[in-house]
Amino acid sequence: MSKKTLFDKVWDSHVVSTIENGPQVLYIDKHLIHEVTSPQAFNELEERGIPIFRPDQIVATADHNTPTLNQDQPVKDALSRQQLKQLSINCKKNNITLYELGHKYNGIVHVMAPELGITQPGITMVCGDSHTSTHGAFGAIAFGIGTSQVAQVFASQCLLLTKPKSLRVTVNGKLKNGVLPKDVILYIISKLGTNSGTGYFCEYAGNVFEEMSMEGRMTVCNMSIEMGARGGMIAPDETTFKYIKGRKFAPKGEEFEKKVAYWKSLPTDEGAVFDKEYHFDASDIEPMITYGTNPGMGIKISENIPVEENASFKKSLAYMNFEAGESLINKPINYVFIGSCTNSRIEDFRAAANYIKGKKKAQNVTAWLVPGSKQVEVQIIEEGLKDIFDNAGFQLRQPGCSACLAMNDDKIPQGEYCVSTSNRNFEGRQGQGSRTILASPLVAAATAVEGKIIDITKHLN
């Protein structure tokens, strides 16, 4: 029998048919939707008179366009309100489960689905959102799709796709103190660049990922898209099974045991061949930050910005108002955002709280903490983290995508820097003219306390 990768096993078991000289029809188990990329797909089906094929395999949430304050009140912005209302109408009409604003399960789509046990190993999962790659942390094939594809899944629970190539990134060794999963993925992207993964599905392997929590694995897989890969995956193991067990939509009792037995068969066979492989040594990774306008432009916090001659590099630095060759240490920062589907899970807030405890945020800093879901928000309060944040002057807001893409009111002002735990530092991503510096929750917390970027490695040792 030929040796197969985790990706091959899941993909091959979902192929309905293959078109000669063309794509395959891939069956999709779970479809997540939100308010921004679904309305046009609902319209399309309605116009063509096609019913939704499997409404019970779709789960909806409101996250991108929602306010993070006063969620119990009507949404002020008329267009946003209309978009949210449209989602409610569409879900109701089509019998789709919706966790709308204020619901106890509401949250960012990539935080709420794993939390509810919807995300499971061996399944295929899509959403009209590129960070659907997050769910690959469970050993699922999960990827973002466009709205035309949302309509295709609505109509048939399938997609027409060409099988991507396979890529494996292996990181072995011991991570240094203060190096979080976010640093691991920022490091990988800084080494490989933003399009090294295009056309590939990426598997992360090695003891670093084996020892990581599910939250950490999700942070890593989340940013697979930032190196161009459609998705990332990590082999399911005891950590995965333990995380899933007992969650709302997880299989129960004997059914769970049966599933676990199957899930155990999924990891990549020894000797299976990947189209591309990269290896890194964990001890070379340090806390990271980005200095430019794509996520590949990252450095160790203690390093200087490189010097490059090309026009895109210069344009990027001009936008950021940084000089080639300079260090970012001591740069004053007025905004800090801890949130987004990359880093808004309980573990991220624990890491931040752990550093902040007993300290105060710097006067010049506006520090927003935005939990990924209602459940995370509740956990933050129950674990006493909120008191730590309140005492330090940080503002705990209500769940949503928030300043990650600044579709709501949470915008970073023109020209300001924001040290952010999100995943994209594109021009204007966090508000027109805003300048984003990506970092881990620990680096973000330290920046908020100091009011400037510090070399966190020195503080930890």
Binding site: S13, G146, L405
Partner: protein, 196 residues
């Protein structure tokens, strides 16, 4: 979807690498619930200055350039899955985007909206940009049947790749939904016997 066979047009040179979807259509314009009107806001923050006036330095605002072909730098369309990016480019009037590399999701979105992504070599791209920049009247011809892109009145021409299935769809104006809906029986049979 509209059919696409051949196109002869002048082109607009967007000589920038890594053009991401947030530049193509910033998030604040994603609140609409239909596909219309996104063309008005394509490259919004490059086309307009902060005070709302027109940025005359940006290539889309330069009167010498026009046409329904957009020629852009490497790694075009990276970032989010928002199909609004493809709608915005189509809405503005482009029918073809040329680059030396496209992000996966953008490429798929473009093809699903009758916008042809033409991937060319780095060398051809730089020749193309240079030709257009030195003579904005340069006419480019894209022939989908033959999978060629050529610069008129020159011997510069290149073959480009496209998935055979997608090519048929573009040439005939079909889309994936038609195909999938016609295969429901097979999908139901798959559901009944799936092994995982």
């Amino acid at each position: 979807m509209e059919k696409f066979t051949t196109l002869k047009s002048t082109a607009i040179p967007l000589n920038i690498e890594n053009v991401d979807t947030d530049q193509i259509i910033p998030a604040r314009f994603l609140k609409a619930t239909d596909k219309k009107g996104f063309g008005d806001n394509v490259f919004r923050d490059w086309r307009f200055n902060k005070d709302g006036s027109i940025n005359s330095d940006f290539v889309l605002n330069k009167s010498e350039y026009s046409g329904s072909i957009l020629v852009a730098g490497n790694n075009f369309g990276c970032g989010s899955s928002r199909e609004h990016a493809a709608w915005a480019i189509v809405g503005y009037g482009f029918k073809v985007v040329v680059s030396s590399f496209f992000a996966d999701i953008f490429k798929g979105n473009a093809l699903n909206n009758g916008l042809l992504p033409v991937q060319v070599s780095e060398e051809f791209l730089s020749d193309l940009l240079q030709k257009i920049e030195s003579n904005p009247k340069t006419v480019i011809e894209v022939n989908l049947q033959n999978q060629t892109i050529s610069i008129q009145d020159s011997d510069l021409s290149e073959h480009f790749e496209i998935d055979a299935y997608k090519k048929t769809c573009m040439l005939n104006g079909y889309d994936d939904i038609d195909y999938l809906v016609n295969n429901k029986k097979q999908i139901e049979a798959f559901e009944a016997q799936k092994t995982y």
